[in-house]
Symmetry: D2
Subunit: 284 residues, 4 copies
């Protein structure tokens, strides 16, 4: 499957003939569909689809696919996005002091688990600069406090622009982004170290321990202006017992955080995630 593909993500009001119209568009232009998945939310009256086809043998040149599809999409009142599999998105990883998610994402990128570049690490602490250096990634230390937040966020946004970043991944970045920031750069994935919506906010492991839960979790979600309340992409859990103290929850949780964040980033980068009504459809 190494030949490049195009992927359309479409959502529109449900109506007859949607699958046929989209499939016909691709077939009429000589495309070979390799993945097609649909979902209908009947309550919301919404149709969502992901369709991926091989570009080899496709009659339309790349720059005409969007405009051509738009002619079909307009009358359907459809929102759509088009991606090419050989485009390589650029990721900025945001960290504080913990290195496990950072290491993990770098390892996966190098192991080619996902196709992306990681040119930039942003942190409110200097601690992980050595790792950035080790892997040849630029590291910008931008300390944040209540007074300088707006100013520092402006610097962060400038960096994202300068490095032409497509996706910001908060890999245990223990700071809240402002609504303004999100409005300016909405493509942000976070890992929260709890099974949301339980234990949103600070110190989830301490609170999970205190509550005496028998299972802990981790949640990866798109960041919105409401803290830990954005659309959930992926969650996973692990069993704990009375023998596990807070430090054990933290240790077990790290393994969860790594895989849950990595899965979410991968699903996003493969253009498998559609968001509506603060929910995600994940076309696996």
């Amino acid at each position: 499957m190494t030949s490049p593909t195009a992927t359309l993500l479409v959502s529109c009001p449900d109506q007859r003939g949607l699958v046929a119209k989209i499939a016909n568009f691709i077939y009429a232009n000589g495309g070979n569909i390799i993945h097609a998945d649909q979902h209908t939310d009947f309550e919301a009256g919404l149709f969502l689809t992901r369709i991926e086809w091989q570009l080899e043998g496709f009659n339309l040149p790349r720059d005409l696919i969007g405009p051509a599809f738009n002619a079909i999409a307009q009358p359907l009142q459809a929102n759509w996005r088009l991606h090419f599999s050989d485009a390589v998105p650029r990721i900025a990883i945001w960290v504080s002091r913990q290195d496990h998610c950072l290491f993990d994402l770098i390892w996966r990128q190098r192991a080619q688990e996902f196709a992306a570049k990681i040119p930039l690490i942003i942190s409110n602490h200097p601690d992980l600069g050595a790792i950035a250096k080790q892997f040849g990634i630029d590291y910008h230390h931008i300390p944040i406090n209540k007074e300088n937040k707006a100013e520092q966020e402006a610097k962060q946004l400038a960096l994202l622009q300068q490095y032409r970043i497509d996706l910001a991944v908060l890999a245990k970045y223990m700071q809240v982004l402002s609504a303004d920031f999100i409005a300016n750069f909405p493509q942000v994935i976070n890992i929260h170290h709890s099974f949301l919506p339980a234990f949103a906010g600070a110190n989830p492991y301490q609170r999970a321990y205190k509550r005496g839960v028998k299972i802990i979790g981790a949640t990866s979600h798109y960041v919105t202006e409401d803290l830990d309340a954005g659309p959930i992409i992926e969650q996973d859990v692990v069993r704990v017992s009375h023998r596990d103290e807070v430090n054990d929850l933290i240790r077990k949780g790290k393994d969860l955080e790594r895989v849950v964040l990595a899965r979410a980033v991968r699903l996003h980068l493969e253009n498998r995630v559609l968001v509506y009504s603060n929910r995600t459809v994940v076309f696996e």
Copy 2:
């Protein structure tokens, strides 16, 4: 979603335009697709799809849908099956002495977790006759031994015919069906009390204990002439420890067996399972 639907399950050699052709067939006849899913096995060069649409407003009468679709399917060299959601399949449950899967399936059928009738229970032991009586289901005690097997299987086949059975569910029926039987009645789902292919055959819990595994499982599969080697529909597992003796494995395993078998039966009855190369595609 209470209006009746039609479902097509199709498999054919992979080629361009399959999604378009099938979707067009439904759209051209005024059908509203409510579920469509595809899978391509590139190595096998095989395309498989499940497509479900509402019959309300569909222009073709039911008895013409099959012939009409066949005209499309023939040139594609496609195998296909057509189902209507208001058809109510008839199930025979086969048991030996254990009652947990039997109880569970009856409860689910009564709770309308799946639409089916259960007019017949077949057993090689008399033990569970009282349960059959309690729920008003005919119970046929057909003891099996080496000498009478062929003769008794003939009786079983006659019963399946007499009761117009669509699906036989081996709910801990601790006997092997002959290749002849399967050839005559191939729609048989079994639950095996191990994580296949580990511990195929007799006494899986004893062998799991002896091997010292830390997780046990259950597997539901279509029955073929090779023991415990048919296409797997569903599996699940549960963690065990050194504290669990064989009896604990049996107890924990029962909970697995119930849900794994029930999920497999439900997926089958909703026509979500396609089989090829001794594997299943499960369109969930």
Copy 3:
């Protein structure tokens, strides 16, 4: 392991020699320990243990074990409970309209998964009376509304006394017990259909759907006067996707509710659960 056993559950301030003192008490009287487990909460400075030994060959008669152990426990400032494995606790099951947990508990009791009697079912609806009749269990229909709650709870308490009930199991009893009731009868286990503390209170599946979680759960806990906030005994989860509507969550959740409640009841009945600081220690 069919010979009867005695079990001591002990909690006391942590100090040197606790294991030795308790083990010596049993050994000095000729007891053979078959299970011993300890836990120390260092932060709370609390030692907790469960110790079970065979009564066969034990030199103390049953009615003297408690007083004799008390002489050891007093100077240690220990709380303790003593149980005999051949005592058969009496359970009252409380239901509303849903039958799946009720059926499940009855089936397990009959399958001897736990040793208990179930002489009484209490419900605020008449619906499940037929099931009670089918299994020969007394069914008391006690409708509850805002006006009659105190009065009806008095009736319920009287029934628990009359039937000499040791444990009340809320098997999807969709009513809140008053603080007064709990004070009078504190041995109550509930099943909540969410992964607590997420979605405490009403309509958890609807809220889980709306939040777009990728995993749902069920939680069994001791009932306290704070709604869904008592000590958690057991939890489990199942994965869901965007394809699952509220009804699917409910269906999948039922399978969780059954096993999670059953495990909690079983652990309680085997005297494996100790409560402190609104947490449980579960000696499995």
Copy 4:
């Protein structure tokens, strides 16, 4: 809990008074037990225990604890091992070409998830030498083929001795160790990329794909002379579907392999694992 502790792992024929005798030994010498766990295999007539106590305030000097306990152990026909928590075991990691388990173990050791030194990496390929260099670990490339196996194993054994290695961890070392090697150095933990005993031997992911399983697993076990048949320490699983090709199984499996191997190594290093009859007791 930073004060050093001593841990005794004991197994002996089951008999009365074992808990008391061992606890008394510690109490009489002023020790404070912080973890004690027992297990009895009634069928095998075997008692196993792990007991850990603080050395601070313990009256016996370290070098006398063993001899003193031996006086108790001898009449009980007990096997026993004594460990001190501040001893830092030395690990050799064995790899072939895959780096994920190697990276993971190094990261965990640096994150102090377990207390150990990793002075040595042995490989039959030169590929991962750069990683060794990056982290300052000696890397010995010892290529193996059928002709030179005995000779090369002698070199490997010499290295283990030279580096004073306590534990060899086969972190995806795709070679079989000879029975002779194991006899000379029995402390070897392996990770196998299947849910053993399913798919023992070569190419488990390919075989799992072909069999059409719905769940894959990984297994960490002590190495014995029988391939993939040693005592299992830890297993875990992940769900797969028809959409997952062999490469997806490999990718998903890597995440399993990392955590399963890491948990097994950690349990071993904390002296929580006892082996008997090709099974493990894991005192968590």
